[in-house]
Each structure stands twice: as structure tokens, then as C-alpha cells.
């Protein structure tokens, strides 16, 4: 896609739906926008059928705002709740069969590189915990071992939400769900460690109750995936239906879970640090100035 995609064809302007006109006139394409400007530009994400108050919806909303070049981004998804929203955005979306998403994204990102050369075309996979850590596990891991250059985002609601409450590998031990009535017997999978072992250049955990942090990790992950290698973000995105969280308590729950098992963590490989610093002017990874030598106590 290019910026021409979001222009009116001559003479059609007044026949276009309002949402499209807003997108052309006040959308974020080709501009630098940030979460602090939310509410004053037309967002790429449109209306969709995900549940009221779903934290996954909020995360997807923030993630799409954070894409560094939305006009050059293609999202890939799979079965699960998230695709209901991701597919309703004004950027191309590819629907992989359940679990195929990282295979599809591998082919797509390689194809885009052949076709467009150095011009960055960002591929971002967003899939549920079931799609990523269970059904898609093999393809996810192999894409990382091959260092495929795209971003994988796990929308971790710790359950199969779309199909009514089966346990996933990411469900916590002991959690009782509609279709795990005796409680899960095994530990939550450590996908973060697996991502590091498999060679991802960037691995981060994030919760949606910190919009600026969501923005920052998504940007870094997408930029690093352009040249350095695979990047992985694991986001806690609660399912208020399967975990019976009242919708006005969703942010409180996110805070509790953040403190319990979703503290912010970020791993950036040395190569990725150097790349962010040299290519995109990040200052966070410059060597810290040496601390001034501690004053020697004056013993009188």
C-alpha cells in the first residue's frame, strides 16, 4: 500500500462514506502521531464486534496507533477474538489459518522484501495466546529460529476466549475455566524465555494500562524487525467474559496482574541496541556517562 491508497479518486469525494472522508482528511497516514494526540485524529481502527470493555480491544487500538509507518504496514492474524478488530482497520490484514500466522508472515515479509527492496514494509502478527503458544507454537518458534524479520505480538488473555473458555498453555496453573472445571494442572508457559533462546532480537512484556509504554515497545519492535531479526511482544489483554471481570474494573485487574506476573520487562539484543541508536537516534542505549568517583570521606 502507498499513500495513494488514501486519496479520493477525482469526482468521488462527495460520494465517499464519512469514515473514509475523515480518514483522508484527518487520518494518521504519512504523519507522525502519538498516543498523546488520541481523540484529535481519525484512527485507522474502525468499529468492530469485540466485547464491550475488552482490554484486548484497547491494546489493539493502541498498537495500531503506534505503528511507525501505518501506510506501509500489513497485519497478520488468525482465529481468535483479536482478528475481529484487527481486520476492521484501514490497513491490509491477512488472515492465516489457525496457527499458520507466523508461516504466512514469513512468506509475506520475504516477498515484500523481494518486491520493494530497501523500502520498509512492516509485517506485524497479532494472535491470541492459544494461536501463538499452542496451535501456532511450531510455526512461531521456527520463524524465530530462522530470524524472520517481522514482529509477533501475543494477545495473552490466558484463555481461548473466542471459543468459550478452554485453557491454553498461557493459562495460569489452578485457573478454573468453563472448560477446565478442575483447574489447570500445569504452569503458564514461559514464552519470553523461549523467544530469547530462539534468538529474538527484542522481547518485551506490556499491559494496556500504560498506553505510552505500549506505544514505545511497539515502535521499537517494528523498527528492529525491519533489519535485525524477529521481535516478540507479549501483552496481557484480559478477557472480561471468561474471567468475569466487570467492565469498569478491567484497568484495576490489569494493574493487579501487572504487579503479579506481568511486570514490564524488555530484552534488546546488542545488535538491536546499536541499530536503534544509529539508525533511529534512540538515546536510551548510549553508554552511560561514568558516575563521578565517590567522595572520599574526610577522616579528621
Amino acid at each position: 500500500m502507498s499513500l495513494d491508497y488514501v486519496k479520493f479518486s477525482g469526482g468521488f469525494e462527495k460520494f465517499m462514506p464519512k469514515e473514509y472522508r475523515d480518514m483522508v482528511e484527518h487520518g494518521p497516514f504519512g504523519k507522525k502521531i502519538s498516543v498523546s494526540q488520541m481523540g484529535s485524529f481519525k484512527e485507522i481502527l474502525e468499529e468492530h464486534p469485540m466485547c464491550a470493555g475488552c482490554a484486548m480491544t484497547l491494546f489493539i487500538r493502541l498498537a495500531i496507533i503506534a505503528f511507525p509507518n501505518p501506510e506501509d504496514t500489513i497485519t497478520v492474524g488468525t482465529a481468535g477474538c483479536g482478528r475481529l478488530a484487527i481486520s476492521q482497520a484501514a490497513i491490509p490484514f491477512v488472515y492465516g489459518n489457525y496457527g499458520d500466522q507466523n508461516g504466512v508472515a514469513s512468506g509475506l515479509s520475504r516477498g515484500l522484501r523481494l518486491r520493494f527492496g530497501d523500502k520498509p514494509k512492516d509485517v506485524v502478527v497479532m494472535a491470541g495466546d492459544g494461536g501463538t503458544a499452542d496451535i501456532g507454537f511450531q510455526q512461531v518458534l521456527h520463524s524465530w529460529f530462522r530470524k524472520e524479520r517481522f514482529t509477533t505480538i501475543m494477545l495473552d488473555n490466558e484463555v481461548y476466549g473466542n471459543t468459550g473458555g478452554q485453557e491454553s498453555g498461557m493459562t495460569n496453573r489452578g485457573a478454573v475455566l468453563k472448560m477446565a472445571p478442575l483447574g489447570k494442572k500445569f504452569e503458564k508457559m514461559d514464552m519470553l524465555q523461549m523467544a530469547k533462546v530462539a534468538g529474538c532480537a527484542y522481547v518485551a512484556t506490556v499491559v494496556p494500562n500504560n498506553p505510552r509504554r505500549v506505544e514505545s515497545v511497539i515502535k521499537k519492535a517494528v523498527l528492529i524487525a525491519r533489519e535485525v531479526g524477529s521481535t516478540y511482544i507479549q501483552a496481557y489483554t484480559s478477557c472480561n467474559i471468561e474471567y468475569a471481570i466487570p467492565t469498569d474494573k478491567v484497568m484495576e485487574d490489569a494493574k493487579t496482574v501487572e504487579n503479579d506476573r506481568y511486570q514490564f520487562t524488555e530484552y534488546v539484543s546488542d545488535e538491536a541496541k546499536q541499530y536503534l541508536t544509529e539508525r533511529y537516534g534512540y538515546k536510551d542505549y548510549l553508554p552511560k556517562p561514568a558516575a563521578p568517583a565517590a567522595a572520599i570521606p574526610n577522616k579528621a
Binding site: H26, M38, G39, E43, L45, E47, G53, L58, L62, T247
Partner: protein, 108 residues
């Protein structure tokens, strides 16, 4: 009948922190107008809800009460709205990216 979020312009415009839209799960739903509240002497404008996109989750109420500590948002029945910002009537300023209510519609 169903509930939607309603923002009290006078209470919001006194603070206008823009937190609620960053936490509303729905896109393009809590918008900002730099004009709203100016007639009453407020400087920074107010948030407002495009109610036909609002799913009634009340997360914004929690955010305004607990994070902004401003209590500007209440859930009310759609037919009790004095002015409904039906999305068709919500537009964006011509020259800026500031959202404004072009023609608030009276429901009821």
C-alpha cells in the same frame, strides 16, 4: 434502552487531561473539542463521546474518577442525553485535526 458515557463539559474542561480517550477500548469514540467550554471561559476545551460508537463499558468513568480524579463522566440512558453526538454529526475541524461537534442532535 442502553447506557452510554456522557461527559460533563464544565467539569471536564476545568481539567481536560485527555486520559479517558487513551483508555477507552473503542477507537474514534472519546474525542476532543478545543472549542467546547470556551464560551464558559475554560481554556483547553473538553472531551466528548461519539455515543453511537460507545459500547457502554464504563471504563472511562473509572479512569476519570480514579486516575484523573475529576468525576466528569457518568453513564446515562441514551434517551436521557440532552445532546447526542451521533457520529454522523461529529466532524473534524477543517484546517486542524481538532475534533468539533458540528451539529449536535437533540434526542428524546
Amino acid at each position: 434502552m442502553y447506557l452510554v458515557a456522557n461527559i460533563d463539559v464544565e467539569i471536564c474542561a476545568a481539567k481536560s487531561c485527555k486520559l479517558c480517550t487513551q483508555y477507552c477500548p473503542e477507537a474514534n469514540t472519546i474525542l476532543y473539542s478545543e472549542e467546547m467550554g470556551k464560551d464558559k471561559g475554560f481554556k483547553y476545551g473538553s472531551a466528548y463521546v461519539a455515543v453511537d460508537r460507545c459500547k457502554g463499558c464504563a471504563q472511562c468513568v473509572w479512569v476519570c474518577d480514579n486516575m484523573a480524579k475529576n468525576n466528569a463522566i457518568k453513564m446515562i440512558m441514551i434517551d436521557q442525553l440532552p445532546l447526542a453526538a451521533i457520529t454522523d454529526n461529529v466532524t473534524y475541524g477543517e484546517k486542524s485535526t481538532v475534533a468539533v461537534l458540528s451539529d449536535p442532535m437533540v434526542v428524546g
